[in-house]
């Protein structure tokens, strides 16, 4: 317990020693994580929007002409077993012809021109109305469409798919920017720890000579890095909360356009948890690398 306490003390002493530098690095880490948080939030909002949009999805898959019944049965079985699917209805070529005749009796004469039904066999799939399955449904539909027995599909998901495309683009841009900024943060923490190691060289030497283990010397620096990341991410969480709450008030016009897509009212807790984990993780990893490089025996 005493060992843990003195290790933590050393880490806090080190942070409090260079207040200005540490405050600046908190700021930079916070800014980095804020950018990450904003993009994450936009991506989350758009996905939620697309999911809402894609509720009550129904898709019709049309089979190719030469498809055998066992192949159709196999697909039907697969669809019925899927957790996403609510109901599946198979419609043979003849059934399709009957349905057409019923729906459009005035056009019935056209069918007499054909020896066999001109309509393809099809299956109609109703997906479950569960929240948040939109993206899964879209990729599920795409997978079915790729099967060799399927000729074409009919599904009204254009809007949702467009929103998902925007979401993907925003995610990519966010990821790219975040990667650069995360690298910058990691580099800052790496160098701060390096500076502290050099600053405390004499002290480290004394610890070694009196019989401190390697980890006793290294752990305070690693904890220091993790704390820098953690405090930076707390700052980022605060800034993100303020940004998301204040943004609508200052940008009414934007808000009106996107108010359905981006809900500023519900900020998911997981987003803050992600920021905390990411910030602490960056601090931990970069300080560990720094310690490995500059605290060799």
């Amino acid at each position: 317990m005493n060992l843990l306490q003195s290790t933590l003390n050393n880490a806090f002493i080190s942070i409090s020693r260079n207040k200005l530098i540490n405050f600046l690095s908190f700021g930079i880490i916070a800014f980095t994580l804020l950018i990450f948080g904003i993009f994450n939030y936009l991506s989350y909002s758009l996905e939620t929007f697309a999911n809402e949009f894609s509720k009550n999805i129904e898709a019709i898959f049309y089979f190719k002409d030469n498809v055998e019944q066992p192949e159709i049965d196999l697909l039907l079985k697969k669809l019925k077993e899927s957790l996403l699917v609510e109901d599946v209805t198979f419609s043979s070529r003849d059934q399709a012809e009957i349905a057409f005749s019923r729906q459009f009796p005035e056009l019935k004469y056209i069918l007499s021109e054909f020896k066999t039904s001109p309509f393809p066999a099809s299956i109609e799939v109703k997906f479950k109305q569960e929240y948040n399955i939109g993206t899964k449904v879209i990729s599920f539909i795409e997978d079915i469409e790729k099967l060799s027995i399927i000729e074409s599909k009919q599904v009204n998901l254009d809007w949702a798919q467009k929103v998902m495309a925007i979401k993907k683009f925003i995610s990519l841009v966010g990821m790219f920017l975040s990667m650069i900024l995360i690298f910058v943060s990691a580099f800052i923490i790496f160098n701060l720890i390096k500076l502290n190691i050099f600053y405390r060289k004499e002290e480290i030497n004394i610890y070694r000579l009196v019989g401190a283990t390697d980890w006793y010397i290294k752990i305070p620096f690693i904890i220091e890095g993790a704390l820098l990341g953690f405090f930076g991410s707390i700052m980022a969480c605060g800034l993100l909360f303020i940004t998301l709450k204040l943004f609508p008030a200052y940008a009414t016009f934007m808000y009106n356009i996107f108010k359905d897509m981006i809900s500023f009212k519900n900020i998911p807790l997981i987003l803050f948890l992600r920021l905390l984990l990411l910030g602490t993780g960056i601090g931990l990893l970069s300080s560990y690398i720094s310690v490995r490089q500059f605290l060799k025996n």
Partner: protein
């Protein structure tokens, strides 16, 4: 306790800091290591606590071959050795008490045990009244006594001092040497590097003299009778 077998130490090619050193120091012995500056005294001491490695030869400390002690287990060797430096090596931002407590803190000792041990050794070196002072607020002699207290607080088997009186006047030096005598009287093997002839003659102990990395004379006990 400490054995050197044909030990060589070379920092630069064709120049030996230590040349073919063999020696044996028994448990509880008090040994002076003497010689002019650059004779190899500090190098020899550093080899004992593995701050340096020999270029050739074998060194046994507490029956362990220091060449074979892995880096991650080095702390175990160091916990058996208390080291005192000429420049004290105290942490300026820690009080006397905190400086002395360092070896116990790094071992994870309980606060009550640390308190007991630190207070005991501070009394031994006559510094109980200075425990809350910072090193910069006490005299050189007191700083050296803090360093000695830090070296013995962990109950080491060996105490090594490299020119412990180099920065002190004669009166304080005698005082410091008397403390080392008391430490040795408790059965702790004590090795002191010094070039202070006056003190060597005042404290008749086994003396090993180094010259350009080689032993030139050795007196078993009694007055050193060495000239530099």
């Amino acid at each position: 306790m400490i054995e050197f077998y044909h030990v060589f130490k070379q920092y630069v090619k064709d120049q030996y800091a230590l040349f073919d050193i063999s020696l044996s120091i028994q448990k509880g012995e008090f040994v002076f290591l003497t010689g002019a500056s650059g004779a190899g005294k500090s190098t020899l001491l550093k080899l004992i606590f593995k701050e340096e490695l020999p270029s050739k030869g074998q060194i046994l400390v507490n029956s362990s071959n220091i060449n074979l002690i892995p880096q991650k287990e080095l702390y175990l060797l160091r916990r058996d050795i208390g080291i005192v430096f000429q420049d004290f090596k105290l942490l300026a931002n820690r009080t006397v008490y905190e400086n002395v407590a360092i070896p116990l803190v790094v071992r994870g000792e309980k606060k009550s045990a640390i308190d007991k041990m630190v207070i005991k050794v501070l009394a031994q070196v006559g510094l109980s009244h200075r425990k809350n002072y910072f090193p910069t607020h006490i005299s050189g002699g007191e700083q050296q006594r803090v360093a000695i207290a830090r070296a013995i607080v962990g109950n080491p088997k060996i105490v090594i001092a490299d020119e412990p009186t180099g920065n002190l006047d004669t009166e304080l030096s005698i005082e410091v040497f008397r403390i080392f005598e008391k430490i040795n009287a408790n059965g702790i093997t004590t090795i002191i590097a010094t070039h202070d002839l006056h003190l060597l003659n005042m404290f008749p102990k086994r003396t090993l003299k180094l010259e350009q990395g080689k032993f030139t004379s050795s007196t078993p006990t009694g007055p050193a009778e060495v000239t530099l």
